[in-house]
Amino acid sequence: MILLRALLTRLATTVVTLFGAAVIVFFVIRVVPGNPIAMMLPPGATDEDIARLSAHYGLDRSIPEQFAIWFAGVLHGDFGASISLRQPVMPLVLGRLPATLELAIFALVLAVMIGGAAALTGTRLRNTRTEAAIDIANGVGLSVPDFLWALVLILLFGILVPVFHISGRISPSADLPFVTQFYVFESILRLRFDLWWDLLQHMFMPALALAIPLAAIIGQLLKQSLKETMHLDYVVLARTKGYAENKVIVSEALPNAVLPTLTLIGVQFTFLIGGTVIIERLFSYEGLGNMAIDAVINRDLPLIQGIVLVFALLFTVVNLVVDMTYALLNPRLRHA
């Protein structure tokens, strides 16, 4: 009962957040200097042409009126038409979203793997030089943001020892049989492992750049919780029963130490998604973030609105899912 009420309150605040985000984005970008219509017409266009086209895009109405029309459209899934690309915004955004999602999820998987391995190794070899080295690596990893890691990775593995691709999503020569934009997923379904491997080679550098700070945070927090759990009576009991140390850590301590880390991963995942914007730009990866920067440069108001709202939706949904999972996993809340 309490859980249900908490859930409903949570849903209501999510709706308020999304509406607020829509309002703010809409009004902020109406103040953008530079006429997007004048930019899309050839230099010889008359004022009449500009006025006619402005009317076509509804830009001649008052701002509250524009908002009402736009918002009514958004509720029906219609985000208007992109000015620079002259296509409806919705399909454009949906066409790029899968690339960004695949990158973000791959980065998340990498972060969990690296951070988890660091935490387990650090716990197994606690009070040794290895643990100290892991602590230092974690400290540096989380101090430096993805943007700088991306540049470091480009230098090391794109230029110095060129083993990975540092530009694009897939080799331009590849001929693509895909019907969806979820290339990685679809290449597995179609058993095209050559394409799958090509995709991963392109994704590895940007995903690793996104993953390093998160891996460091996971490594630090999980190791700390594990160390605390290792002193609990039931873990000590398992050890006195003669369980091997590795087994004690993985099957006794880990399940009880993992909850704080899970919550943290959820919150941090939204930061990771936010990081894709500049990382995609650095690696010329054709995702939503790269498109967003182009949209800002071209003053493409409808497209900017659409992309920012999709990001906001993504963030709030991730947060909602995290909160609900946490409530379900936490016995104290489940039985409240």
Binding site: T13, T17, P33, S143, G289
Partner: protein, 283 residues
């Protein structure tokens, strides 16, 4: 068992020393830039374009870290870039701390409607990808040093607000606040004289972290060509230029990147170190 606390303490103070020294060096370079930079950071010499650094073959000893494609001295641009980076760090950091902490204190101490409104605003802000938000804001208010600072403040105040709000809520429950209330102290006075000073260490640690973030935001904006001007010697602008000519002249990217990396790392380590210093358990 050896005392784990002293090991942690020793490592923490080493961290404070290293990061503090690097930042002092950068600050010194920024202050003395016009006197110590060997060349004019804007002077172009097309006959001296893409000269390698001093240790590589074909170097000109007059240009210690080499030159970029327009023949501008990399070392001088890094030194002058420190000015812009530290100006942004200091001004944006302090302004963000002021706005965010004020809102956080009000929300955490007053509660009620003030808290609801401020917390909802924080939620809404957190729903935007910060980099995209920054780029969008700069497109709206135009490029330039002031715009960058404004953009950082507008985006990052939530970092302070969330933490300070929680801290102010904790402090409000303390006995000293209750006794001040009973003694008849006004709410503004309690906030300013009682709670404020107790939240200050938290704000100081966050401020150091924020200065590192500000340096990065400036670099990112320079990178997408939305910072000050393409000509001005900013670390981000140098990195953007270096990225395009990386196969011909790696040093144009590597040196500013190393400096930026160490500076951001130092701000962050200093902030973490301060946080530990103020942590009563470790102290």
């Amino acid at each position: 068992m050896p005392d784990g606390r002293s090991a942690v303490k020793r490592r923490a103070s080493l961290r404070l020393w290293l990061s503090g020294s690097w930042l002092a060096l950068v600050a010194l370079a920024a202050l003395l830039a016009p006197w110590i930079a060997p060349h004019d950071p804007l002077a172009q010499d097309l006959f001296a374009g893409r000269l390698p650094p001093f240790f590589a073959a074909g170097a000109d000893p007059a240009y210690l870290l080499g030159t970029d494609s327009l023949g501008r001295d990399v070392l001088s641009r890094i030194i002058h870039g420190a000015r812009i980076a530290l100006t942004v760090a200091l001004m944006a950091g302090v302004a963000t701390a002021l706005l965010g902490s004020l809102l956080g204190l009000l929300a955490g101490y007053l509660r009620g409607w003030t808290d609801i409104v401020i917390s909802r605003l924080v939620d809404i802000w957190m729903a935007f990808p910060p980099v995209l938000f920054a780029i969008l804001l700069i497109a709206v208010i135009g490029t330039g040093l002031t715009s960058i600072i404004v953009a950082i403040v507008v985006i990052d105040w939530t970092r302070f607000c969330r933490v300070v709000r929680a801290e102010a809520m904790n402090q409000s429950k303390m006995d000293y606040v209750a006794s001040a209330t009973i003694a008849g102290q006004g709410r503004a006075s309690i906030l300013w004289r009682e709670i404020g000073p107790n939240v200050l260490p938290t704000i100081a640690a966050l401020l150091t972290l924020e200065m590192g973030i500000a340096v990065i935001v400036e670099a990112i904006l320079s990178f997408v060509n939305l910072s000050i001007s393409t000509d001005a010697p900013t670390w981000g602008g140098m990195i953007a230029e270096g990225r395009t000519s990386i196969h011909q002249a790696w040093w144009v990217l590597v040196f500013p990147l190393v400096v930026l990396f160490l500076t951001v790392l130092s701000f962050s380590q200093l902030g973490e170190g301060l946080k530990d210093r103020f942590d009563p358990v470790l102290r």
